[in-house]
Symmetry: C2
Subunit: 245 residues, 2 copies
């Protein structure tokens, strides 16, 4: 059976996250419903590069599934999009070897986090960016971010509920891009722990307010204690941007 890899985008605002769970609207469920329609009711299991939480968006999530149908790659996006709700879109599809696995073949990911600086809330950003009522010093944020690049034990930068044992991860890029009143964090790495990008963001926002110094980052890392880092920034600003294979 051919295996198909798709790059998908979704607006996470109205989803209880990516992964199927009872009595909730999820991205995975909508994808599997659309595939069942195409496959005359047969259940098709979809595998993603990883989950995203409720409210988190994706520009470049990657999924794969196996199909009995001989649909050309170029036809898959429109075949699926016509059966998907408007807050999910398949951007691109390609047939891949059976050895490809959306999750296990992933070599890394890039996330982006959007912050807007405005004393008054912006109705257009309520689901799409996190508000900072005060101006943030992006040079300090960048300097703090630089301390996180490289291979570290990120125990302080993941949810205390994280079950995985090995908390060593590698961050290959951490950029702070300012455009007008908007700040975008771009974080790429080999892999990410639960809430890691949101905790990094919350911590860099503290640095941007001058509440912590960039020099504090190394001791926060060394302390291996979630309570040393900043707050978990809200879900609505987070985008799974790209998965690298």
């Amino acid at each position: 059976m051919p295996r198909v890899k798709c790059t998908i985008a979704y607006d996470g605002a109205k989803f209880s996250g990516y992964q199927v769970q009872p009595n909730s609207r999820t991205v995975q469920e909508e994808l599997e419903k659309a595939l069942a329609l195409i496959h005359k009711g047969s259940e098709i299991k979809v595998t993603a590069s990883g989950r995203t939480d409720a409210g988190v968006h994706a520009r470049g999530q990657v999924i794969h599934f196996d199909t009995s149908l001989a649909i050309p790659d170029a036809r898959w996006p429109s075949a699926l999009n016509s059966r998907l709700p408007e807050d999910i879109a398949v951007k691109q599809a390609e047939t891949v070897p059976d050895s490809f696995h959306a999750r296990f073949s992933a070599a890394g990911k890039e996330y982006r986090y959007k912050i807007y600086q405005d004393q008054v809330r912006d109705p257009f950003n309520r689901f799409y960016a996190c508000q900072s009522p005060v101006k943030l010093n992006t040079s300090l944020m960048e300097e703090a971010g630089r301390q996180l690049i490289g291979t570290h034990d990120f125990t302080s930068f993941c949810s205390a509920k994280t079950e995985v044992e090995d908390k060593v991860r590698t961050i290959t890029k951490l950029e702070v891009v300012e455009k007008g009143e908007e700040i975008e964090l771009r974080v790429a790495g080999s892999g990410f722990l639960y809430n890691m990008v949101r905790i990094i963001t919350g911590t860099l926002m503290e640095a941007g307010k001058g509440k912590i110094s960039p020099d504090d980052i190394s001791s926060i890392l060394a302390g291996r204690d979630r309570s040393l880092a900043g707050k978990t920034a809200p879900a609505e600003g987070l985008y799974l941007w790209k998965v690298f294979y």
Copy 2:
């Protein structure tokens, strides 16, 4: 009684337009409910620079109301925002003379219309921009737009249902701004007829596809017939950007 002028922004996606109508969620109703809460139940009438249709957004709508309360200008935004739903925000407030009227004192308005060019629909733009599956030629759009600048009878560029007699209006600015895959039309003028910006947009999109030539605009204007111009572009791409006084 002091008169207060407010600049407000709203995401039009979940509203049946600005103006109060029975059994519908409207911007005006939400504003009046918030004001009634502040005024201990007294009804406060809100007057806007003009209505916007269902799905149309505002970045710089202007309203006024009269109040018995002595709230300092700087406090009005937060007083109202804490009582307004998240899709409306008061950005700025100031006390104005009684002679100020949000509608009758307005000297002009700027609207913007957002188009994104993508073969595949973008979930993030479904409420906020109009999709063009084909690339548009923005030089042709600009050239067509230039023919509309100035004082003209805009009968061909307003809904056939328009009741107002005098259809002469002045367009002072019509810019076509391209940023990556996005095109923004910026149209300013003394006043606008019903659906005028959306019909101008639909017509310029035809020009951008090469279906009409920029030279056709003068005969479309001269024909004074709605059927000569392009389709009415959808509401979701339209933003009331600024009201001039």
